[in-house]
């Protein structure tokens, strides 16, 4: 579904953010990308939808190669990649509904979006999504009136209304409390399962990642250090990714996870 071939990014400052990363993600797989700050996690997902231009390498989304696309073709492919951001990145002075509908911008013409007259099917879908995340009555509130968890759920709706094949998720829980973090992660993973979406989730919280995803990639200094199932994350593995620390408290046991699911 998504395939990265020798994806490399060197910033103009000379920093090698990504060193020839190879990665393949099948349809419907939810993957967590962990690693210390500065490991290139953000750069990696931004190189996929080219918010950051990769220096070299290839990105295949289905059978389309993204790195050489022109502006119009890139816009078309971006529609298939929903993005969810750290700190939500909602446009604060727009209403919740406008924020959700902005996910359809790639599908409608300028005048329709400018006059806010979106096709009825889009509006219906926006209401359906808002209902799904429990924010139906918030549709006409301004985005900056919402709490952090509510904002992130609007961010999720904005990504999903694009009808994407892939979700790029950048630190979705970085500014949320532990309970809301779990709810958001659960929601993202449930929605991915419902819709058969693949997802790459950048996340700092290793335990939280283990709780929800099927596969974990450990990134260190722009290179893949670990690729495996969540319960293969041993203290040794975490030490190679992050450096020396006592990891016992960080790694969740599988039993805990099941208790969590029951709770």
């Amino acid at each position: 579904m998504l395939r990265l071939e020798k994806l490399t990014k060197t910033y103009r400052t000379g920093d090698m953010a990504l060193k020839a990363v190879d990665l393949e993600i099948p349809q419907g797989q939810v993957l967590a990308l962990i690693g210390p700050s500065g490991a290139g996690k953000s750069t990696l997902i931004r190189c996929i939808n080219r918010l950051v231009e990769p220096t070299s390498g290839k990105v295949w989304l289905g059978d389309v190669e993204l790195t050489h696309l022109g502006a119009a073709a890139l816009r078309r492919e971006r529609r298939r990649m929903g993005m969810i951001f750290q700190e939500y990145a909602l446009v604060e002075r727009l209403t919740v509904m406008e924020n959700v509908l902005s996910g359809r911008l790639g599908y409608v013409g300028f005048w329709r979006s400018f006059t806010r007259r979106f096709p009825q099917t889009d509006v219906d879908e926006a209401f359906r999504l808002l209902d799904r995340v429990g924010l139906l009555e918030m549709a006409d509130k301004r985005a900056d009136e919402l709490s952090g968890g509510q904002r992130q759920r609007v961010g999720i709706c904005r990504a999903l209304i694009q009808n994407p094949a892939l979700l790029l998720v950048d630190e979705p829980t970085a500014s949320l409390d532990p309970k809301t973090s779990r709810q958001i992660m659960r929601l993202i993973c449930e929605l991915c399962a419902e819709r058969g979406l693949a997802a790459i989730i950048n996340i700092h919280d290793v335990a939280l990642a283990q709780m929800f995803v099927q596969r974990v990639i450990g990134l260190r200094l722009g290179a893949v250090e670990f690729d495996g199932p969540p319960d293969a994350l041993s203290p040794d593995v975490l030490t190679t990714i992050y450096g020396e620390e006592d990891w016992q408290a960080t790694i969740r046991k599988v039993e805990d996870e099941e208790e969590e699911a029951l709770a």
């Binding site: 816009r75 492919e77 951001f85 604060e92 727009l94 911008l105 300028f110 979006s113």
Partner: protein, 271 residues
């Protein structure tokens, strides 16, 4: 400092490092500034005898504020005020309409380099030419009257509004704009959804402020023949009709205060 040990630091006084590291330069600049200030003040020549004579005229001018004469030149005052208001509103509207695209082009984070340079050039040109100079030039081209004033103020508005709008765009929250771009939006949609909502309150506030400035400027531009209330004011001064001049100044002050009040309300509404 990286090799400093804790023992060496404990007990040592801490002071904020000076902004200018070189002591001679730091002291030199301070002393130079003081010397310059003293020299500048002592170079001002005041002819106290002339000041004494002038006090009477000043007093007459100020006294006339106590009995402003709105009546005897009312026709002229009314005409001048209407002309000024029309000039102000028209030039502000036209100025804003031109400033917005130039402001977009002058923001480095959304415009490509060539566009940026051209737009910054226009802004710099507009700001470099003072209103009075532009007005004199335009009066020479278009003749006396409000057309020259209207064009002058529109031109001046571009420099002011584009620059401040561009600066607001440059300091906007990048992540909000990035999120809209990631949806696959076109450039104009991106501006409309990702950028405009962020800068709109500031744009409205600046426009109100510029309306205010343009009205005050319109009173000045009359002095060089560009129409408006300034022309009436100039005539009143020429005829030593200080009471009529006082009436005009009171009207200008009243209008500016009203605009100030209005812009306060509007800015509170759009936050």
């Amino acid at each position: 400092m990286s090799t400093a040990t804790l023992d060496a630091c404990i007990g040592r006084r801490w002071r904020k490092p000076p902004m200018i590291r070189r002591a001679w330069l730091r002291w030199g600049l301070s002393i130079g500034a003081v010397v310059y200030l003293v020299a500048a003040i002592s170079s001002i020549e005041v002819n106290w005898a002339r000041v004494y004579e002038g006090l009477d005229r000043g007093a007459a001018f100020i006294a006339s504020f106590a009995r402003p004469d709105f009546i005897s030149r009312w026709g002229g005052i009314w005409e001048g005020m209407v002309e000024s208001v029309v000039m102000t509103v028209a030039s502000t509207v036209v100025g804003i309409a031109i400033s917005v695209p130039i402001g977009l082009g002058a923001a480095r984070n959304i415009a490509p380099l060539p566009v940026y340079l051209i737009c910054r050039g226009i802004v710099a040109l507009s700001r470099a030419l003072q209103e009075i100079i532009v007005a004199i030039l335009l009066v020479a081209i278009f003749g006396f009257g409000p057309l020259a004033g209207f064009l002058t103020l529109s031109f001046a508005t571009i420099g002011f509004l584009s620059k401040l709008l561009a600066e607001d765009i440059e300091s906007m929250d990048k992540s909000q704009a990035e999120a809209v771009r990631a949806t696959g939006s076109r450039w104009w949609q991106w501006i409309n959804y990702g950028v405009q909502p962020q800068v709109m309150p500031r744009l409205i506030g600046l426009s109100m402020y510029r309306l205010d400035i343009n009205f005050r400027e319109s009173a000045i531009l009359g002095l060089v023949g560009a129409g408006g209330i300034g022309a009436t004011l100039n005539t009143a001064f020429d005829r030593y009709e200080f009471d009529t001049a006082a009436a005009i100044l009171l009207l200008i002050i009243g209008t500016v205060m009203m605009l100030e009040y209005l812009s306060g309300i509007i800015r509170a509404q759009v936050q």
